[in-house]
């Protein structure tokens, strides 16, 4: 079978692109608040203001001529990440993990010289990675030292956790693992492995690559069903607090687990993708409708919302992550 009937999809509670755009993004996300998440510099400053954990901002390059002076500033840092403030979908992110003589070592192990970093910054300033080609600024921030718990799960890249937060309630989560096929990037459509996480416990529910279930990491062959994200509740609380911070009703939060500093907010997305449903083997709609039906102001604090969600949305954990959670509707 190559196609699925729309009635089947509806029964499974799958949220489609059109419904997402109109019923959730269009209805719950105020346009004027978009810049808070579309501009990573704004997000970063806001995150620091609200006291949410995030990789520290080192410096910002906003003028072309400033690029010639970056060498000194970069020399003070061992590892760092260069990002366009208005990039989307992980485009234009350059991660430097270390130094080898005069050269910089990328996350993939390749070595580049300062000229390449300069060119990257210059392109970013001109708007190469920004939506609509608008002029941009470059953010340089601290590198995440990701937790050993994911050792052997992520190939050449930082594993991050995407939590979809609706009206302040975390509704669904997945872990994104880079693979050789995805070229060290955590984008599912490029071949990264998506691991659906039980919202109650942070344990693996199901894992997919290219839309199909997998049991082992394709590069390292580690069994994916052993994954259990530590410090799960504080991670959900961090995601949940982004609602108060941005005022956006429907967002995707990208969180990474730092070895020493715990969960760190990496970035926010006002138009989170739908692949999280495939990774979880579950549709978003029933959960979103459930949250919509709750009385306004029922749970006032992020902690209360997280506790509610942990009780309401627990799933049965399957043996094989390729199969997904047992269906209640079957």
């Amino acid at each position: 079978m190559k196609w699925i009937s729309p009635w089947r999809l509806k029964k499974l509670g799958i949220l489609g692109m059109n419904a997402r755009n109109r019923e959730f993004i269009g209805r719950y996300n105020t346009r004027s608040r978009y810049p808070l998440v579309d501009d990573k510099l704004k997000t970063k400053l806001l995150t620091e203001e609200f006291g949410l954990a995030t990789p520290a901002l080192r410096f910002v390059v906003s003028e072309q001529h400033a690029i010639s002076h970056i060498e000194k500033q970069l020399h003070e840092l061992d590892g760092f990440a260069v990002k366009p403030a208005k990039g989307s979908g992980g485009k234009g992110i350059l991660v430097i993990t270390g130094r080898n003589g005069g050269k910089f070592v990328k996350a993939s192990g390749a070595e580049i010289d300062i000229e390449e970093i300069r060119r990257h910054m210059s392109n970013t300033l001109a708007g190469l990675y920004s939506l609509g080609g608008k002029p941009d600024v470059v953010i340089v921030e601290d590198l995440i030292e990701f937790d050993d718990i994911f050792e052997g799960y992520s190939y050449e890249g930082v594993p991050d956790i995407r939590v979809v937060v609706f009206k302040g309630y975390p509704v669904m989560a997945m872990l994104r693992l880079a693979t050789h096929a995805s070229d060290g990037k955590a984008n599912l459509h490029q071949g990264a492995v998506g691991v659906g996480l039980d919202i109650a416990t942070g344990r693996c529910l199901k894992a997919v690559q290219f839309g199909l279930g997998v049991s082992l990491h394709p590069d390292t062959k580690k069994p994916l069903n052993e994954i259990k994200v530590p410090d799960w509740r504080s991670m959900l609380v961090l995601a949940s607090r982004c609602y108060e911070m941005t005022g956006l009703g429907y967002i995707g939060t990208d969180i990474v687990l730092d070895k020493s500093r715990g969960p760190q907010l990496l970035e926010l997305n006002a138009r989170p993708g739908l692949a999280i449903q495939v990774a979880n083997g579950l549709g978003l709609l029933p959960r979103l409708r459930h949250i919509e039906s709750l009385k306004a102001g029922l749970h006032k604090t992020p902690e209360a919302r997280v506790d509610y969600v942990i009780k309401a949305f627990a799933e049965a954990i399957p043996e094989d992550p390729a199969a997904g959670p047992a269906q209640k509707i079957a």
Partner: protein, 519 residues
């Protein structure tokens, strides 16, 4: 949180109604056809005046048809070398006047008119004077013995009739059988023509009547003359009678050329004058006809046909754009096809309209692939973004000129039409695709590029339809209906066709899970 959708649907419905109603009104009022290529019959009638000029000043005056029933005058013009021509209108009667200071020998003057037949509005169109006061019968004087003959004939006819129409018919019957009626034969001999006699007899019976000249239309006839007819006034309107056959009313193929008033032809400064007619049946696009006829109608203001041709062709493209936009909206919202740049496909398809499909497609693919190759070299040069795109624009222009020259040398004149592609947009497309290539791989480039081309080709196929062209240009208000459709699709929250494939794995695994649960 759920807003009432009633106002929205009201807007949509009113848009559809407004668009369709305006189009219908214009169709009815202006006779603009809904289908392209509809033809209307038009009679081209040529009146030829021949005479011998005597060497002095010449003034020729010919009566021209004015509002003949069932016909509408489309165009008219006169050809007559060396003569001044003007149309003089006097009391609803139009005459064409040729004049020349000096002429000698045989002269020929032409007047041509295009008459549209089958005009639906049948109502009488008398000149304003006629409408204001009912015509009065002329008083006549007969000499003896014609007076007695006429009186006898009339009284016989009056006995067997009751209305002006029936009296006329009775009279015609008697006149057409002169052997049986000595009075009639006497009078015909005296007056000379049956129609003239009928007119005089009717006037004598206190029925206003006049002689008219009609022209029977027959395709490809030459040297025809006018047929004399009689119109009698029945107290409300003029009724036409054919004194030869007694037929009542205006036959379909008859044009009333000359109605009452002065003479048909006056020639001063010439002898042996005569007028003859030739005619052919033509067909003219109904659209052209409607535009020409109703240029001063209020509905014509809504059309763009009154603009200069240059602007018209611009609007022709402009009014097609909504159709292309509709295709894009449909392909993206309902089908879920990926395109690079939201409305770039529409622009490409507009370019295809100019180049025609295959040459356009080939040249687009060639230009973009060559551009991608050049761009990959440019990325080594480490240029600033704006400068790099500007470089690309210049290179694209060079590429296109080279392709055009090459095409010309090889004998494809279509190579030239490639310039219709918007350069800046091609340059941006190349830049975007190149970045896409670097970041997401060639696969994504093929998907998005192919999606764009597919949408462009579909939009092109729709926009090049003669019907689509015809409707969008002649009924631009139909775009309101397209607008309503686009707005409706904007409300669609169902699954895209592509999502039925994207999420197919979900169903597979559900089935497997359900199967293992049961076993």
């Amino acid at each position: 949180m759920t807003q009432s959708r009633v106002p929205f649907y009201l807007i949509v419905v009113s848009l559809v109604v407004a668009g369709l109603a305006t189009a219908w009104a214009r169709h009815v009022e202006m006779e603009l056809p809904f289908w392209p290529g509809e033809q209307r019959p038009v009679w081209l009638v040529e009146a030829r005046v021949d005479f011998q000029a005597t060497g002095g000043e010449v003034l020729v005056s010919l009566d021209l048809p004015d509002n003949p029933p069932d016909f509408r005058l489309h165009t008219e013009h006169a050809t007559s070398p060396g003569y001044g021509f003007s149309i003089i209108e006097e009391g609803g009667d139009r005459r064409g006047e040729w004049s020349k200071r000096e002429a000698r020998g045989p002269q020929t003057l032409y007047y041509k008119a295009q008459l549209i037949g089958g005009v639906s509005e049948v109502g009488p169109q008398p000149s304003p004077d006629d409408e204001q006061q009912a015509p009065k019968p002329r008083s006549l004087y007969w000499e003896e013995p014609q007076d007695t003959a006429a009186n006898q004939l009339l009284s016989q006819a009056l006995e067997t009739s009751s209305t002006p129409e029936s009296l006329t018919r009775e009279l015609i019957k008697r006149l057409n059988n002169p052997t049986g009626d000595q009075n009639a034969s006497l009078l015909i001999e005296e007056v000379g023509s049956r129609s003239l006699l009928l007119e005089r007899l009717l006037n004598q019976a206190d029925i206003p009547a006049r002689q008219v000249m009609g022209l029977f239309l027959e395709d490809a006839r030459r040297r025809q003359t006018l047929t004399p007819m009689v119109e009698a006034y029945n107290g409300e309107e003029w009724v036409l009678f054919n004194p030869q056959t007694g037929e009542q009313g205006v036959p379909e193929n008859l044009v009333l050329w000359h109605r009452g008033g002065a003479s048909l032809l006056d020639v001063t400064g010439g002898r042996n004058s005569g007028v003859s007619f030739s005619m052919i049946r033509q067909t003219v696009p109904a659209e052209e006809l409607a535009v020409a006829q109703f240029s001063d109608s209020a509905f014509a203001l809504l059309g763009v046909q009154q603009l200069p041709i240059e602007e018209q062709s611009m609007f022709k493209m402009l009014f097609l754009l909504p159709l292309g936009a509709l295709v894009v909206v449909f392909m993206r919202i309902i089908v879920g096809l990926k395109t690079s740049g939201t409305f770039m496909p529409v622009l490409i398809s507009l370019a295809f309209l100019q180049t025609s499909l295959l040459p356009g497609l080939i040249s687009f693919v060639v230009v973009v692939s060559l551009g991608l190759m050049l761009r990959s070299y440019l990325s080594h040069l480490n240029l600033l973004l704006v400068a790099r795109i500007a470089t690309l624009v210049v290179l694209v222009i060079f590429l296109i000129s080279m392709l055009s020259l090459l095409g010309y040398q090889l004998g494809f004149s279509t190579g030239m039409t490639i310039t219709f592609f918007p350069m800046i947009i091609i340059a941006w497309t190349i830049e975007r695709m190149s970045i896409l290539w670097e970041e997401e791989g060639a696969h994504e480039v093929v998907i998005q590029g192919g999606g764009s081309l597919l949408v462009a080709v579909m939009a092109y196929l729709l926009m090049q339809l003669p019907l689509a062209n015809h409707l969008s240009f002649n009924f631009p208000e139909l775009n309101l209906v397209i607008l309503a459709l686009i707005m409706l699709m904007g409300q669609y929250t169902g699954y895209k066709l592509s999502e039925l494939r994207r999420f197919r794995a979900m169903a597979l695994e559900q089935e497997a899970a359900a199967g293992s649960d049961k076993s």
